[in-house]
Symmetry: C2
Subunit: 164 residues, 2 copies
Amino acid sequence: MAARGAAHNTAQAHQTHNHRECIDDALKRAREICAGRGAQLTPLREKVLQIVWRSHKPVGAYDVLDELARSHKAARPPTVYRALDFLMSEGLIHKIESLNAYLGCVEAGAPHSGQFLICRQCGATEEIVDAKLETALDQAAKRAHFAGERKVVEISGLCARCAA
Amino acid sequence: MAARGAAHNTAQAHQTHNHRECIDDALKRAREICAGRGAQLTPLREKVLQIVWRSHKPVGAYDVLDELARSHKAARPPTVYRALDFLMSEGLIHKIESLNAYLGCVEAGAPHSGQFLICRQCGATEEIVDAKLETALDQAAKRAHFAGERKVVEISGLCARCAA
DNA sequence: ACCCCGCTGTTATGATGTAACATTGCCGAA
DNA sequence: TTCGGCAATGTTACATCATAACAGCGGGGT
Ligand SMILES: [Zn+2]
Ligand SMILES: [Zn+2]
Ligand SMILES: [Zn+2]
Ligand SMILES: [Zn+2]
């Protein structure tokens, strides 16, 4: 898959890859996951997922709304938020809390909070899956006698390309 | 100090401690820090800091506004946001991104992003300073060739008391 | 006296997110 | 087959969070 596995790096965000594959993979995977669970990935929800996957930059709910409205005149905020809530509950997208924006998940199907590297220059946001970091989070919570559930990890800075 | 050092734990949030000490310590420390830097901790800004320190639960900007307005009728949103921005720029408070709310910093003076344990039951939020977690964050960014700057770490779940 | 500059006041608006109720369409029970 | 339940979507209105833009004020230096 274009956005997963060993080849996964920040270069994706700079159009150095065939992003069409990212979108197609994400939609295909979403259909499989929802079908397997009996969750209803309706045309509306799929369209919203597609819009979120337009790039590797987090997209705001009202940007989704503007884009959705081009093909779906009746679109209103609740339409978008409901779709986003559904996609989050199925683990197909994440909310980036520090940006109030949404991003397609590159590990859909594997339940997880997300860990994100957000470039303040180009906006490209990479989801990483770092087992050591995950362990460190769990240990930190444990040391504080805290029963962690949802974990928000968002590191802002400069991606390799923008730093160069 | 009541909210720092070895005695620092989630019990603080449950009024099992003398919270007056937390407030007094925080204000005293803020005055020292600002005096040392030439930063102007004006009466308005100090009042806002005091309001944020009313509890160990993150407080919304409009809650601060309501409270501030009791003694300061002219208070408006920009007044509050300017004060909060100042306090954040001086490292005296943190913004909890996943709640859009603000919390007094327990390690003011030591530049750092923050690491937070947020109880979804009682709302009490503990700031931890976990060196191993900090290292894990740095390493994770490094492995991804990312130059991290600001780090948002917010773990939601149940504090020891609420889990019991 | 005058200017500069940082802080605060004031008005208005932008950006993000939700409550509450109406409507539609499907599917299974009676 | 008819009807009732239920999930998805439509629709209106509103709640919450945050900032732009300009005005007034006051201390400190020249
Ligand atoms: Zn891509
Ligand atoms: Zn993910
Ligand atoms: Zn306290
Ligand atoms: Zn802190």
